[in-house]
Symmetry: C3
Subunit: 433 residues, 3 copies
């Protein structure tokens, strides 16, 4: 059986901070600031980054800064803390440096390790390279009397080799010579992956790498780990960040890297169900969110229009106009619309299905209806969707995510209750148990 | 050498029926009805479904119903019969229950097993989990004096683990400790897969999972099995079902789940070549099928127009108009058009190539020409396509499929001959032999 | 550490020629012609093709023709020479024939092998089938006193089995029983792959197989090999060929098959940075290259327009018009534009970053600005892009490719210097060293 062995079953956000900045009075400034984030601005996993975000010459100081800041602020930090060490599949010197930093940071006398949940290892190669890192974790744990496997290990997938290694993880975990059960996050690192794959795009932007993201999500699923996407560089492009997250969520990759507290807020929120439901209309191939006005869902663009004609309707999409009778129009509009349920809607449906199941019924029809207004003309649509055990289980994912967040992030309770209302939050915490 | 070890080399349709319905006078009603399907309404593989389609409390009765209905109707059923048992990678109790049902159903004294071709095992995990199921098949066969490996095993791929397992199948088959050569269908189960991968979409619809479908098709190819896509829930959306099948076919996944006899008809027909050929025109990025009127292929939409001007032509696409001379227009229209060959066309081309090969030629040019009418203006196009051995072999796939269908499904002869004419059917049965 | 073990780290072009044509006075005519290609018309890898391009009855003569033409012209040929032998995973007879041809061609007394860099093996199956071919290479090398592993082996991936085998290559290389370190190119062969996967498309055109191409690129990355895409049949469709190459490059697959010297020119040029930079504008979802007129980047289509209004601007895209103030417009246009840097631009940026690094700075902002003219209205945009070590490394790929080409292909120096200017070429040869 594939077990999840960590406190968190879901991780929405992976937020990195440089550990030491040259030329600042306090080189740990960014660490100190990040350590004090709370609520939606605080990530599920905070990563003091002693690798790429920190200049090579500052990394010894960075290791010391991690100790100083985490021992001071770690107890109060609401998320998990997983510093990133240096590592490289092709450089024994870099690996040894990473090991030394781990040894230093994990020394219980320094007061940081009790607040540290694990370490992040970048630039891993094949599975045997992962085992080298795991062995260092084991030595560190043994040296300081920590329980074997108690420090989680997360890796950055930024080479073809590492992508291939993920498929072996499940087979290697549990062998007596390693403690790979410590594996926690599989995080894509698309910048270095692009370099390793030697990919080229005309503008220099990153390729989308859909197969990598699928394989990471699958690898996580098969080994009881959690999949996280890499950084989204254009921090001003909030819409683009959300589109990427929506794409990732459809792949089962519910977490993403965040580079700023603003991105943390977006990424903490994105996989949660919306506060209010909304209707989508497929207008000539594009999904348009309808505006809700007094219970009527309104499309007022000019690419689609609807008019009543004698005995029927004329529906125009772009330059194509069709005459339809009432039933045909109903069928057509059902095909063109879809509903994005709110948290409240999802909880309602789940409660309804649970009650039906208790009463011995295995499948029930959930009705969904709306009044649409297209080009001024109103029309009612209504449809049933069958819910069975499988529908119920699939709908459970966002709820389980919510429950995981609510249990592990008391600092977000206020914002979550403000978003959804206390009543909805309470009911959401009870379905599926 | 990768062998195919089963009677069918192709499976178009995988049709499930609940085995026992609560509250009906005859709980086997649906089974009885399905068992009497014939012709295009009858699937290549019929799956009395003792798992998700049947309530947990009804599954023992379901196993008995399978025995009753299959022993009565199995001899006359035109497709293969592969009941689905309960199974779960994470539940030994469920696995044991599945084993008990198999033992019960396969008892030769009950009269059903002689009509049963195999069993379908859902919710498998890693390859060692597949071996557990295989071992139960072997025990059942041994218990009843059936030949080892004579019961086919099909699995539902509905977890990341199972997706990863497919790549190992080829290496594991043929080891003396198992009989995995019995493997027949690899069937995607996207609802539970989505749950296992913890994917979320805003509307709750299933993600498209293109990589899963590729990997299933590839796994089938490498192990001599047959790839089948999962259920398409929206049974009223015939167009969507066809689009999904066309997509799957381009991945080498020629079979699909069917939930109703209506879907069976569509899915039995979809991978077969069309009765008549047709021309497609790329109109501003969209493929439009031209209407054939007295041998002229007509586009009468308003997004493209063609007019003769002095010494040339004006071709308008959307709001872009270009002036082209005759040769340029010919070249342009060749680029914008493509031809969907009919069964008759394919057989013609193959016969022509076979004759050329017999005459010692390795490659020949096949001409294809048409008169187009765009916005009232007619224009003739003509092009050659080189056929060599590889083209011929690739064109063979739909013909091999047809031949497999024709040989194994006498109940569909009448409908096939009506569709294609007796002459075309006879010639199609002879090419490539 | 993943090593590259061959002279070339990049291969842009894989050009096949039939080895013997029936009915010609000189059956080696095509070989002789290809052997004399030079400059951009000459491929990085030339493949005298004794398999599919040559009729089965002509293949013994083809092997002799390879000896004759390569011993005469091989010394002067500017690219590498890798003849393709016959092979099939399912046919021992074909494999033995391929072995015999290799033995014949590699005989040092015949004078060809000193100019031959390796052989291409088509139709391979699982990794053990690759080992059979490798063993024949070893025997040939041993027989003639050549160094073990000195003949490179390239394979055509044209089955699901072979696709799966690529993931094992890294694990199998270096085992004492094989010399798989000789592996050089992984070349997709989509025609036969489509047949093996039994895929069907309505018009008979090849499916795009994006996952196969990803997996080939990843397999190459993990094993220090080079990924090459298969043939693009429609040799008149230059635009389509370029689109395919751009897609491939974003996957890290920088090489492609070429069927004609014209395709070789396109494919040799495509992965190199352009001579001049250009701006792209996203017009309603389509990337349009702006025309540069006296330093102004001009969009003069009718799907987007820009007009100054009192205190702001009106930006129309299609039929949607928005009123924006100057800052909003700047932000909007930054989002809609992107820049395709020239070789000169890339070298500039890299030099600037190298200087900054020398001065102890780990990240610098690179400014990019332009004057746009949309519908007659001009507007200036300007943006900074942060460059750090990772950006620098990723930008290195096209430069490394260029350096590899320049070092290995003196016959292309003149054309490259004409394209970029001597100054840019010289600077490009010095960055990153």
């Amino acid at each position: 059986m594939t077990e999840r062995r960590h406190d968190r079953a879901f991780v929405r956000t992976f937020f990195t901070s440089p550990t030491a900045i040259e030329g600042e009075e306090d080189s740990a400034k960014m660490l100190r600031r990040a350590a004090q984030l709370r609520g939606m601005q605080a990530p599920d996993v905070w990563v003091p980054d002693n690798e790429d975000a920190t200049a090579p010459s500052m990394r010894d100081e960075g290791a010391q800064n991690i100790i100083d800041v985490v021992s001071e602020h770690g107890a109060d930090f609401p998320g998990e803390i997983h510093p990133r060490m240096v590592w490289h599949r092709d450089s024994p010197g870099t690996r040894y440096q990473g090991f030394q930093h781990m040894l230093k940071i994990a020394d219980p006398e320094k007061g940081a390790v009790e607040h540290i949940d694990g370490f992040v290892i970048p630039e891993v190669g094949g599975i045997d390279d992962w085992k080298k890192a795991d062995e260092f974790f084991t030595i560190v744990e043994n040296e300081y009397g920590l329980e074997e496997g108690s420090l989680a290990m997360s890796v950055i997938i930024e080479s073809g080799q590492a992508e291939l290694a993920m498929r072996k993880l499940r087979d290697e975990m549990g062998k007596p010579e390693n403690n790979l059960e410590r594996m926690f996050l599989l995080v894509d690192g698309e910048v270095d992956y692009t370099k390793d794959m030697r990919a080229i795009t005309p503008t220099g932007e990153l390729p989308p790498w859909p197969e990598l993201r699928h394989n990471t999500s699958r690898g996580a699923s098969a080994a009881g780990c959690i999949a996280v996407d890499g950084p989204y560089d254009d921090i001003r492009d909030v819409e683009g960040y959300h589109e990427r997250m929506t794409e990732n969520q459809a792949k089962g990759m519910l977490g993403i890297w965040s580079l700023t507290p603003g991105q943390v807020v977006e990424a903490n929120t994105s996989p949660l169900p919306p506060k209010t439901g909304s209707w989508l209309l497929d207008v000539d191939g594009e999904q348009v969110e309808l505006e809700s006005e007094d219970g009527v869902e309104v499309y007022d663009g000019d690419r689609m229009s609807l008019e009543a004609s004698d005995g029927g309707y004329e529906l125009r999409v772009g330059s194509d106009t069709r005459t339809l009778d009432e039933d045909e129009l109903h069928e057509e509009l059902l095909g063109l619309t879809s509903y994005v349920p709110s948290m409240d809607d999802i909880v309602d449906s789940m409660e309804e299905f649970e009650a039906a199941k208790e009463a011995g019924r295995g499948a029930i029809a959930m009705e969904r209806s709306a009044t649409l207004r297209i080009g001024g003309t109103e029309f009612d649509i209504s449809t049933d969707r069958m819910w069975d055990e499988a529908t119920y289980q699939a709908a459970m994912t966002p709820i389980s995510l919510f429950q995981d967040v609510y249990e592990n992030r008391p600092d977000q309770h206020e914002e979550l209750e403000e978003r959804y209302s206390t009543d909805v939050v309470e009911r959401a915490m009870e379905v599926g148990l």
